[in-house]
Symmetry: C2
Subunit: 352 residues, 2 copies
């Protein structure tokens, strides 16, 4: 029998706490059946037990680690760090540090999760900073975009780090053998964009990394699936992500207006309702839920605060895919290659 993979769950995070999270764990457990995956549920033992009582099968896969303390969703990261030790979030992260768990999933306060994870787990390999990943619905399924909010400004090396992390992530989670990678810019010509972007472009093109680097891509390439992985700094990535969400919301409301403006289209809307429901599901944040913080010593997955049980289950699936993959090894190997290139710049084609 193989050693089980243990996923630590912050059972108190998000808008719904254990009442959405434990049913979410149950859904994920069902899908992972036979994969030897177990769960460490961190938080209020009584509330968690009440939820677990519904299923003996699930209870057998779960251990509870009690904590009275919960990090509030609006708490500043600095404050959360000061008073957060022993909270459900802290304990879940710490379980990864001590080896009791391989991955942690939380739908709590993003800033606090980021700060605590960095403090407790520290960065992996020679990676400089963690990045937040978004899985973006796109023509061919899903585009991996990072960073979408952790780092406002990014050096060329950080962007290359993100490319290494994002490529390994896409392979682990979406099963694509050789994901293609693009750098987000405002044109595809070599001379476009920031200095950092051009330098990252050069490193990815000439650094000898075993990555299928495509070159520069533009904003509309994300949903067009031009590449599997799109790399950008956290400021641009966050603006792009929220702009896309806003555009989708705006179009949905315009569509509703269009459909209710005449009797004929009202009938049309009724008939087409099933098709629209399918589309809505495809774009439901719960369906694409599970944004990991990459780059740490351990797998940390952030679920939306408003995620329902299905959403939380999807976040657990992302953590399980990462835990079952060679994700960490691949990043370590590629970082070694990058460090060699950075130490001997001429091998990356720099003029001596």
């Amino acid at each position: 029998v193989s050693t089980p993979i243990v996923i630590a769950v912050d059972a108190m995070g998000g808008d719904h706490g254990p009442s959405a999270i434990v049913p979410g764990v149950a859904r994920a457990a069902q899908r992972l059946e036979g994969g030897n995956v177990r769960f460490l549920l961190c938080g209020d033992a009584e509330r968690i037990s009440t939820q677990l009582a519904r299923s003996k099968k699930l209870s057998a896969l779960c251990e509870i680690r009690h904590s009275d303390l919960v990090i509030a969703s609006d708490e500043k990261p600095a404050q959360a760090m000061r008073r957060g030790k022993g909270s459900s979030m802290w304990n879940a992260i710490e379980a990864v540090k001590t080896g009791d768990a391989t991955a942690v999933v939380s739908s709590g306060n993003t800033g606090a999760l980021m700060a605590m994870s960095k403090l407790i787990l520290r960065m992996a390999a020679d990676l400089e900073r963690p990045a937040i990943v978004a899985s973006w619905p796109s023509v061919r399924g899903s585009t991996t975009v990072l960073d979408v909010g952790a780092n406002v400004g990014c050096s060329a090396e950080m962007l290359v780090d993100f490319a290494i992390m994002g490529e390994a992530f896409h392979r682990a989670v979406h099963g694509v053998k050789k994901p293609t990678v693009g750098l987000l810019n405002i044109g595809s010509e070599e001379q476009k964009g920031h200095e950092e972007l051009r330098e990252a472009h050069r490193l990815l093109r000439e650094g000898g990394l075993p990555i299928a680097y495509y070159g520069f891509v533009e904003g509309d390439d994300i949903s067009a699936s031009t590449v599997d992985v799109v790399i950008t700094d956290g400021f641009t990535g966050n603006v792009a992500l929220k702009t896309a969400e806003g555009t989708a919301r705006y179009l949905a409301s315009e569509m509703r207006l269009a459909f209710t403006s005449s009797l004929a289209s009202k009938i049309g809307a009724m008939v087409a309702q099933k098709a629209l429901k399918k589309l809505k599901h495809r774009l439901d944040p719960n369906t694409v839920n599970g944004g990991p913080l990459l780059g740490l010593n351990g797998i940390v997955v952030k679920s939306h605060g408003g995620a329902n049980d299905e959403g939380f289950a999807n976040a657990i699936m992302v953590a399980a895919h990462l835990a079952q993959s060679r994700f960490a090894d691949e990043i370590r190997d590629n970082m070694q290659q990058l460090m060699t290139v950075l130490a001997h710049p001429t091998s990356a084609g720099e003029t001596p």
Copy 2:
């Protein structure tokens, strides 16, 4: 009788040349009837005359300035500058410089239009750099976003310049008396974002400009109409614009798929076709066409290269609205106030 407003038109630009542009001028002329607006058509006299021959009424409003030379759509700006003197684009811009025209409209090469306009017209008031404006379909009609591509990096002062230009633009073109202005950031808290953003935020909040400054906004606020005018650097603005376009295209294709996946929804699609057409029109680039380059001594409006006659007419309407407004005076007045603040920083609340 008031002095006529003359709009110089680069009749050779874009994918269709005079065969889309002259009919576009005709459409705009019809809408502007009684407004005493005339046109100076720059380009191949024979091709333009052939198009004009269809309408005596239009011919009476137009003058032709012949040129053999056309700037290609894929020409590098530097090359266009070297060999561009006397081209249809050059002549149209020069007409604004000499006073023969008040505004210029071109659907030609954006980079060349920007470079030539800067060279020939120079910056207005104390403005540092021109900005490209996008009119973004949104819940309450249209959100003005700038810069969407002219400037990769922006100082705090440039962002404030853009706020001054964008506010005056939105009033002139959309008739909103006191447009609200927001700075694009990745959170609404004061400590978020780049140093330049925080300094621009301070100047707009405390600089005594007669602008209804709202504060920081996020990507999803653009189509939500949270503010009338959204200010950002050209890199972020360009990525956001293209991401939104990509999202809209992706959703449209998903919708088509949803509607053709079953017989019932096929019927639904047929019945709802009229409603969808209306939506498509609302989002048609031709409907929202007319992105001006703000900040120059004179009005320069860029039309999409692929614009049809309706699209080109809309670009002319933007130029006419700007020409008929107090746009230039308002910018000059606000820039004087800004210069006073920058010269005496304490009046903007800086700690002495």
